[in-house]
Each structure stands twice: as structure tokens, then as C-alpha cells.
């Protein structure tokens, strides 16, 4: 890729649309057409959830993420623990032990201090649970109307000690696809509390730190090729990214994908496909076929992987595409998300 090719290419749309933040095709267009031309370098161009850096003989993982979820408080969590867990997970799926986080806050004039204190308390609790320290940060306040209550950014660094090289381009034909548990909980929990859509629901966000599940998985010695936490855009988008980066096909089995009855019901009612709904405490792992059994066993022994299952395989056919065998036995495509059904989910 050319370094800093100015002027920047003209993009298809003249203004930023909500869909540019959806984690689907528009997001990836924005990255490809506006962000990468400005910054592109071999580390960034890998487009993994975290950058992997070699510094003085150590491998460090480095990542950042901003949180604009609305509402700020929801069943199962709030923007604070989401911001800690999200960054911890982006490090963990690179095989890193998360160590230190930064936290930055953009506050809207008029936001209640009591709410801010609740967010701080849950961030602290989440950091303790994940074994990380928040060691630097920033606050800014903007006029009323310039942001929506509270936006949070976290960045994190971790140490990579596994000899594995986990990256979205490492999947190979024959590999097995595993998923750590039922999908869609976070997205549906947020939706249930959205203005104008609120419905009675027992579904809580699955927000959780995945570092200890990942540590147990790495300890098996299984030849893991890729791990991803399927947040925005859901399992469908993560699998598409892997299929495209690795130049392979991914074949999922609809019957094998764990899904809670309540989540399924809400999705049926709202016309949403759970494969595209965000998760905040799940991971997808792709590993060598011979190791899938013991990897699955290790996952199911961990509380955050108790409902883990093998959901598909990697193939040579349909390179760059994700397909799914439906409950009736026919095969269809699981496309990249073209339009975001739920803005501001994380």
C-alpha cells in the first residue's frame, strides 16, 4: 500500500452516515477509503482487533476503542464495564495478557455526577476482574447538545507470550470454527431498553472479560489460528472478515450455533438475524482440525465458555465468502452487514 497518498480518494458518499459506524460494509469502506490511505502501514494494514508490536525482544499488543452506547445503563452492565471489557477482549483475542488501560471521557454539560460515579465504580470493578490497571486518562466537557451524556475511550496494552501468531489471515482450509457461547445477548439487551422499542426482557448483556478463557485455551497448546470477539456486526461480520483476510470460505452450520430462546424470540419479533447482533463476551476461534476436540473441552470447562460449540469449518470453496447450511439442508450466503440495524450498540 502507498504511504500517504494525497489527495485522499473521493469516497462514494459525501457525508458520514450512521451506517459508517455499523461495523459492516460501510465501516470497512470508510477504513479503506479514508483512514488507511492516510495512516496505512504494515502493522495497521493487518486490520486485526489489536496491533502487535515487537519492542526490545517483547511482543506487545496495543488497542483502542471508543464507546458511545445508548442507553448508558442497561441490563447486565453500563458504558463503563463495557469500555474496560471491550478493550481487554481486543487484547485477549490477540493472545495477549492485558496489563494496562487508559480511559478518556467526553462529558456533556449537565450529565449527573452521580451517574458518572456509578460508571467509574463499574469500570474499577471490571478492571479488577480483568487484572488490569487504569494508569492514565483524560476528561473533556462539551456544551449541552455536543455529545449524548457520556462517551468513553479506552486503550490498552498487553504482553503476548504465546508462540502462536493469531491473525485474521491465518485460517486454512480444513480448520474448525468454534464459538464460546450463545449469540446476540448484548445487542438484544440494548434494544430492549431503547426509546420507542422498550419491551419486557430478561436478557442481560453478556459483557465480560475473556482473558482467562483465552488463557485456558492457549494452555491446551492447540494450534489456534484466529480469535475474534464478534462485537458490532456480530458473528456474521467477524466470519466475513476472517474469510476475506485468509482468502478462504467459511461454512457454518445453522443448527450448531448456540442461541437463547429469548434472544431468538426478540429477533423473530423485530425481524433481525442474530448472526448480525453484537456480543460483548463471546469469542470465535479457528483452529487446526486435530485440535478442535481438546480446545472445545477446555472452553466448556470455563464458565464463559460453558455453552461453547463447533459451529463450522474452513473450506477452499467460496473463498472470501461465509455460507451457512440451513436447518433444511440448503446452503445460503451469510453476507457482510450492508446496513446497520442498530446504531450505537457499543
Amino acid at each position: 500500500m502507498n504511504q500517504l497518498s494525497c489527495p485522499l480518494p473521493i469516497v462514494d458518499t459525501e457525508t458520514v452516515l450512521l451506517g459508517h459506524g455499523g461495523g459492516g460494509k460501510l465501516s470497512s469502506d470508510l477504513l479503506r477509503n479514508v483512514i488507511l490511505p492516510a495512516f496505512g502501514n504494515p502493522i495497521l494494514n493487518r486490520m486485526d482487533d489489536q496491533a502487535q508490536l515487537r519492542i526490545s525482544g517483547s511482543r506487545l499488543a496495543f488497542t483502542t476503542d471508543s464507546y458511545v452506547v445508548q442507553p448508558i445503563f442497561f441490563r447486565g452492565g453500563n458504558i463503563g464495564d463495557l469500555a474496560v471489557n471491550g478493550t481487554v477482549n481486543d487484547l485477549a483475542v490477540g493472545g495477549a495478557t492485558p496489563l494496562f488501560l487508559s480511559a478518556a471521557f467526553i462529558l456533556e454539560e449537565g450529565f449527573p455526577i452521580e451517574s458518572l460515579q456509578r460508571v467509574m465504580a463499574s469500570m474499577r470493578a471490571a478492571a479488577d476482574r480483568a487484572g488490569v490497571q487504569i494508569v492514565t486518562g483524560d476528561t473533556k466537557v462539551v456544551e449541552k447538545g455536543s455529545c449524548d451524556g457520556l462517551f468513553v475511550n479506552t486503550a490498552g496494552i498487553g504482553l503476548v507470550e504465546t508462540p502462536l501468531h493469531l491473525s485474521a489471515d491465518q485460517a486454512r482450509p480444513g480448520d474448525v470454527v468454534l464459538l464460546s457461547g450463545p449469540i446476540g445477548d448484548h445487542g438484544v439487551a440494548i434494544l430492549a431498553e431503547r426509546d420507542g422499542l422498550s419491551f419486557e426482557s430478561e436478557i442481560a448483556s453478556d459483557t465480560a472479560p475473556l482473558h482467562s478463557l483465552v488463557a485456558d485455551m492457549l494452555a491446551t497448546g492447540a494450534a489456534i489460528r484466529v480469535m475474534r470477539d464478534p462485537t458490532r456486526g456480530g458473528v456474521a461480520s467477524s466470519c466475513n472478515e476472517i474469510a476475506q483476510s485468509s482468502g478462504v470460505g467459511i461454512q457454518l452450520d445453522e443448527r450448531a450455533i448456540p442461541l437463547r430462546a429469548e434472544v431468538r424470540g426478540a429477533c423473530e419479533l423485530l425481524g433481525l438475524d442474530p448472526l448480525y447482533i453484537a456480543n460483548e463476551g463471546k469469542l470465535i476461534a479457528i483452529c487446526a482440525p486435530g485440535d478442535a476436540g481438546r480446545l472445545l473441552e477446555a472452553m466448556t470447562r470455563h464458565p464463559l465458555g460453558a455453552d461453547a460449540s463447533i459451529i463450522g469449518k474452513v473450506s477452499q470453496e467460496n473463498a472470501g465468502l461465509v455460507t451457512i447450511r440451513t436447518t433444511l439442508g440448503a446452503v445460503r450466503i451469510v453476507d457482510m452487514l450492508a446496513n446497520d440495524p442498530l446504531p450505537r450498540i457499543c
Binding site: 457525508t15 420507542g196 465468502l321 440451513t326 446452503v331 453476507d335
Partner: protein
Amino acid sequence: MKYLDEYRDGDLAQRVLREIERKVTQPWVLMEICGGQTHTIMRYGLDQLLPQSIELVHGPGCPVCVTPASLLDRAIGLAQREDVTLVSYGDMLRVPGTSQDLFSAKARGADVRMVYSPLDALRIARQNPHRKVVFLAVGFETTAPANAMAVYQAHREGLDNFYLLASHVLVPPAIRALIGSDDNRVQGFIAPGHVCTVVGCSDYEDLVRDYKMPIVVGGFEPVDLLQAILTLVTMLEEGRAEFANDYTRSVSYHGNLEAQRILGEVFEVADQPWRGLGEIPMSGLRLREKFAAWDADRVFDLHVAREEAPTECISAQILKGLRKPTDCAAFGSKCSPESPMGAPMVSSEGACSAYYQYRRHELVTLR
């Protein structure tokens, strides 16, 4: 999940499929009317599982697909007014008018809001008495009663800042237009289950009688559709042109009388333009004179050309079942869900979108 899992059961589907295979001795062209049914066919790959001699063509039953672009242009024009809040369902905001969609208008500052029910639109009107709240609604007989109810409620409350900008279409006149056209290929119809849930079955019996063509009311799950196909194929093979209701868990003969009552009170039947099909006499609904004060088309001065601009999109032939989405040269290249050239690629219920989403890996064989 009750009433869903039974109708997605793989073994049951296989049994119905084998029954269809036993019945069929010659090629038949069947049309499912509703976009929701098209979606199920593509999502579950029913066309892959059926005998090759059964061809399913996809009807005009995607409301977004048959909505004239000029309606979107009028909505965008209204949204750009300082005093207007334009409210609609999420999928309508993505539908391109002649030059842009409502999401782009929103990004440029128009007050455009997404709702999940017409009652939310009423609430926004009540909460913002100084703004003119325009609810953009399209749809068949299924969505019309709720929109009628919203206008009726606004009338009852004396809510004078709420307006309906609507394009409501009716299924039976469209079926008449399809069967009556010289190039019709369809030999049997799967009638739209949810439309019949509202309006009942008698219009469809009339169609069977007038055109000697079998019509079966079908549901929206894979086994529902396979069962409707089995009934149609059985009738066709036996030379019978009859009406049958294979979606009895939702559809009663007379339909939802209360919904029909509110429809009749608020709307009257009128000529209606269909994107791709042109104007079909007495195929739409417009607000009665009594409710003219809530009709955005009558209240606002909307200077928008109502003619459709010609395009290379073949959606007209797709909506008539003459061609398949994959027959289009632009399919998947120039035309995709992110940059649709025609409405069937926009709406997730549209036939082109369903082919693109679920089956583009077979493009070579489908073509």
C-alpha cells in the same frame, strides 16, 4: 419456539418435498406474491430443494419495491423543510428517491426519525406541538389498518400537527393486472398469508373464479410454503382451479373485521401508481375527504415530478415474474444493496436483495 419450530422442521419439510416429487409430472410456474415469502424461499433455499420442473417466480409483494420513487422525493422535500419532522420505519429511510435517500437528508441536517409503530409517530407529534410531524408509510393491506388507526386517533384527539404521507397498495388488483397481461407465465399463485389475515379470502375466490387459476393462501415459514406448493401442484396436476387456505392458523375466511372496519372508515380505494408496474386502476388507498386535513399530499404543496425516470433496471420484469434477478446485467456488479439501482435491491424483502444476500455464490449456475 411454538408455532415456528414446527414449521421449520427439516424432517417434515423433507416429507412434504417427497410428496411434491410424487405429484409433479410436468413443469409448472408458480408465483409467491409476498416479499416475506420470497425471503423465506431464498433464506432456506427451498428452490434448491424443489424438483427442477417447479419454477418459483417472485411477485410484486414487497411494499418498498413497488413504492414510486416520487413518493420518496416528496418525503425528502418535506424533511428538508425547517418546520417538518419526518418520521418513518428504518427500511424506508434507506430507499433511494431520484437523487438521495432520507438517511442522507438526515446526515445533512433534516429532522428525520426512525420509529417502530405509527403510535410512536403520534407521540412525537403530541410532544412537539410546534413541529409538523409527517409519518411516511407504505404497505399492503397488512400495514394499512395501523396507519388508518393513527389518522383516526389524530382526528379524535384533534392533533393538528400530524400528517400521513402514504402509498398503500392492494394485492388483488395487482394479481388481476399480472394475470391479464399478455406475457403472463404464472400458472398458480401463493396468496399472501398476512394480507389475507386482515382482509379474508373472498377476493381470492373471485380471482380463481374469474381466471380459472388455482390460488392457495400460504404462510411464511418453509413448511408453510412447501405445503402451499404441494396443494397448488396437486390442483394443477389434477386440472383443478380452486381456492385453498393452507395458513389456517392465521387466516380466517372473513379476516379481521375490526381492521377492515377502520380501513373502510379512514381510506377509500383509488387508482395507484406501482413502481415497475405502472398505474393500476383501483389498486391503492387514499384518505377519505373527512381526513383530508391529515393527508400530507393535500396539505403540503409538493412540487415533485410524479413520472418515473427511466433506468436500465429490469425490476418491472422481475416484479411481473418474467425475469429473475440474476438475468440482470447489473446484478451484483453495478447494483448491490449498498448502491441499489432499483427498489428490489433496497428492501430486504426485495427479490434482488434476497438473491444477492443469500445466493450470489451460485451466480454462475443460477445464470
